[in-house]
Symmetry: C2
Subunit: 586 residues, 2 copies
């Protein structure tokens, strides 16, 4: 069957996309900017997920391409805006992400013969010459203008403007929206988690196992880092993007041990290499007795679980310099904490400093506070400076709400490991980015709807962010391409796109143009760089800091204003009246 072949050849096809094999790939250059595009393609590299190929689109894009082609309309110059209508998670801001993957996608956009054959098989009614047309297309005639990745963005303002031959740009609609929607959603979710956790906490993304498929997980790791997380558990994401990795052991590791007899090699060299402890396990046992006998701790501890003690001791022998233990397999306060402390104290004797513990169940506020008390008591009892400051990590079904609740109750958690709710965006699993035609062959187009919020803003536009005296952004404004740009110090009327009464004069202190050329670029419109992930992450952090705090707060945030120029306002309403049929009440 053809689809079995497809699965097999998919893996082979990927090799062709690798820049290191660029030399053997067929040359592109069908469009006017052919050679430039080929160079740019080599520069940007292939999409992270090799499945992001030209077939990753909706069937109707091909139906439309054929209808356009049949009507000789396929090369009509179209302008599409990509935007969303509502901020997610009940908030008033969104972080834009996914741009780099879109640029990688179009840089490598080209149908293989295998893909053409497949399309022929599912569209047998189409003329052969149409498939020759598909064979020839790439994205060298497509232009992409975009807000930089990692920017804070708002509803209705185009995140991207994509221009080019209508049939080709239509084919890009679905993959672009796919690559932007989840990326922006999960980056925003991560930024919201960072906001509620505060700057001083360590945030780790632990979502691989619960994410929506392998690259639901891999993109989650990338974009959570972009949105302000510090690390991930996902090793492949670490490899692909250079994100710091974190992780210690699971409950299974603890329960895989039965007793201390299972540790064959008990020797451990001092950290400074000076001498060797011959029986680390006995040292641990001694410390456990001391802890149990200590006046300041006596009331807390009875017998501890020996499987757990063996697992901790064994783990410490493998990682003496970074010992971090999961303490809730049996009972946190009666077993996990004393066992951990015994091992940490034994390590201390040999010059090592344990890292801390992880809590994965129970009342995290209470347990973290009680654990901190024990750590402080041990610091005092045995005179171990710094023991009280041991890291406490928490990781049980956390989300914005639970972290907020922990903050209100008071807690002693230093680091949060967040999975399910973060990566699946559980509280709102989709962002509604759309891709709307705003102009064709220089004629503006509008999409009407009975729901005013769904009416599109027509025309090829330029977009600006106007800043006030205090440095905060005040309002975004869209203008027609032919209008002069707003200027710092000059008064401009900003109008709500649809509501006549909502308008305000603004004298911006500073004006920032939002859309930049990302593809393909030329001598007069240089291609904007795709910065490395770490730089995008910094941009995101800085943009959020620049925003007026009431736009970001969790409860009842203030909507940020989005406007159009007076000229664009007039034009929208002229076009609207022109297109809408006049009703007749019966």
């Amino acid at each position: 069957a053809s689809h079995a072949t497809a699965q097999r050849t998919l893996a082979e096809a990927f090799a062709l996309q690798s820049p290191s094999m660029e030399a053997t790939a067929p040359s592109v250059g069908a469009g006017a900017n052919g050679s430039l595009a080929a160079a740019a393609r080599a520069q940007v590299g292939p999409p992270t997920n090799p499945m992001a190929t030209a077939l990753l689109t909706d069937q109707y894009q091909f139906s439309m391409a054929y209808a356009y082609w049949k009507a000789g309309k396929h090369a009509d110059h179209a302008v599409f805006d990509l935007y969303f209508r509502k901020n997610p998670f009940g908030g008033e801001f969104t972080v834009f992400a996914g741009l780099e993957e879109c640029i990688k996608f179009i840089a490598n956009f080209k149908f293989t013969e295998d893909e053409i054959s497949f399309l022929q098989s599912v569209m047998p009614m189409c003329e052969d010459a149409f498939f020759d047309y598909l064979r020839g297309i790439d994205c060298s005639d497509v232009e992409v203008y975009s807000i930089p990745e990692g920017s804070v963005v708002f509803p209705k303002v185009p995140l991207m403007r994509v221009e080019g031959p209508v049939a080709v740009v239509q084919l890009l609609e679905t993959p672009f929206v796919n690559l932007i929607n989840y990326a922006s959603l999960v980056t925003t979710n991560a930024a919201r988690h960072r906001h509620v956790a505060g700057k001083s906490k360590v945030l780790m993304e632990f979502g691989l196992r619960r994410a929506q498929g392998p690259d639901g997980a891999i993109s989650a790791s990338k974009y959570c880092f972009m949105g302000g997380f510090d690390a991930t558990s996902n090793v492949l994401a670490g490899h692909l993007f250079g994100i710091p990795l974190r992780g210690t052991h699971s409950h299974a590791y603890v329960s895989s041990y039965m007793s201390l007899d299972e540790i064959p090699d008990r020797t451990l060299r001092n950290k400074d290499g000076s001498k060797i402890c011959k029986d680390f396990v006995s040292l641990v046992k001694e410390w456990l007795c001391k802890i149990q006998a200590a006046d300041s701790l006596r009331n807390v501890f009875g017998d501890t679980n020996q499987s757990e003690l063996a697992a901790f001791a064994s783990y410490a022998l493998a990682f003496p310099s970074s010992f971090l233990a999961l303490v809730d397999t049996y009972d946190v306060m009666r077993s996990g904490i004393p066992n951990f402390c015994a091992v940490a104290l034994a390590l201390h004797d040999l010059g090592y400093k344990a890292s801390g513990i992880r809590l994965d169940s129970g009342d995290l506020a209470y347990l973290s506070i009680e654990t901190r008390k024990v750590f402080h008591a041990i610091e005092k009892e045995f005179n171990i400076p710094g023991f009280g400051k041991m890291v406490i990590t928490a990781s049980n079904d956390l989300n914005e709400e639970t972290i907020d609740a922990l903050n209100k109750q008071g807690h002693e958690v230093d680091a949060f490991g967040i999975g399910t709710y973060l990566v699946t965006c559980y509280s709102q699993a989709a962002l509604g980015c759309v891709f709307k035609l705003v102009e064709i062959n220089s004629r503006p187009r509008i999409k009407l709807s009975e729901d005013v919020a769904k009416v599109s803003i027509p025309c090829k536009k330029r977009c600006f962010r106007l800043y006030g005296k205090e440095g905060y952004p005040l309002v975004d404004i869209m203008i027609r391409e032919s209008e002069p740009s707003p200027k710092a110090g000059e008064r401009i009327l900003c109008r709500h796109p649809f509501l006549e009464s909502k308008r305000a004069y603004v004298v911006p202190q500073h004006v920032e143009e939002l859309l930049h050329c990302y593809w393909p670029g030329s001598s007069d419109k240089p291609r904007a760089e795709l910065p490395p992930l770490l730089k995008i992450r910094s941009r995101c952090m800085q943009q959020l800091e620049k925003l007026r705090p009431d736009h970001i707060r969790r409860l009842n945030p203030t909507p940020y204003k989005v406007s159009v120029s007076a000229k664009l306002y007039e034009f929208i309403h002229y076009l609207w009246l022109n297109e809408a049929p006049v009703g007749e009440l019966q």
Copy 2:
């Protein structure tokens, strides 16, 4: 930077996984079943997503692997159960999916040198010999027992039992849970949508643009088909899995036209090839006049939108045999429907039969009923048999609830296109599958928790489904491996795993063993086949039909019973008491 190289070499590495290049891949065969595994690997092929590589796991799996290796424990024989604790979407059933991808994953499980170097760079504290160990491992010593894909499954019963060297099986935990969680969740969601829509409706998955990343979309298409959908809009999924494709045109296509003058070639050959209509557009216009003049329709129609009429006529010229139009760009009843009918009637004159319409906004119950009335009126007015039965498709933010509401209101929709809510599993975006150690070196293990629902069921187990006289499944039962199987006609005591008072005697009419060997297989334990998608889909449909209806109904479904044998019950409670510390109230 190393991660830049990783992104480049990822694409190259994929080529090695392709079965067609098997000959050049390094031989595996490290374990006892080496050659068998290599043959099986060639047979099952690579994972659908080439990113599903051995690095797609949590960092802590490698920390644990190292600690096991340091303690000489890495080859200990471990048994893990993969299961979930609660059915999703407030229901009482789940469909198990993702098995084939898991088997493909382990069949190709092997570290490349590039991956080993990366691991060395992030775990500099580990001894070199450990990386030699990693270089040598594959999954030839791992055994996978699983419920067949597409089966209806219930909480606590292992979906899979994975056995083998503890360090290797731990590395599989994260990818297996990742590959099963979303697959089972979205298949279940699809099955629920099918259940509420009824067997007679056509269900199409339209989720590519809103899914969580490219393979969130591709897996959604695969698993929605498995769960009972008929088609997808996702072309790549059609190519990879042979799923039927559907899709016509968008609002942008409609608004890309300004007037009928934009149609250069207006000729259309009769369906039977007998003659050529020279001006299809005029024919359409004539029909529009006739419709507007018709007594039975006069009250409904005034002037229609000419952009829309042009777009419809042009689209019909490209697809005369399968004309399906999106009718809500301007106004459904005042413009879309009369324009559609005019084009459909013109097509009818030339021997073609239009397919129907799609509604993407507004009150779908009302609009579909009004549209049906018009179709019937036209059938009668112009004597066109079958016109009344034209397909009405609906596709605006649909989900289980809205389809249920439509059913209650009454509607005339024949086909549903469902996207966002289906593929992102919006009402519950994650399933909580876990992977728990139940035995190591033949010693049963238990994971305790203050929450009884989280206590694991220890021991290597066999699982059975017991059927009653009416053919319905009555109860699933787990027994210790050493116990005799339940037999048809023999009375057996089924106990709730944790609650002493809940137990019942059952005399099964028929007994089905649930777990089968899927990897690697041997002469005495033959490897169960991985059936094609269509067969898995049928299995799913059949299993749901076999279930007692009250387990499936949307409101207050009855929980299906899951039990353990008397022996296993005794053993769980013996182990529980043994491991749990005795508390002390203060």
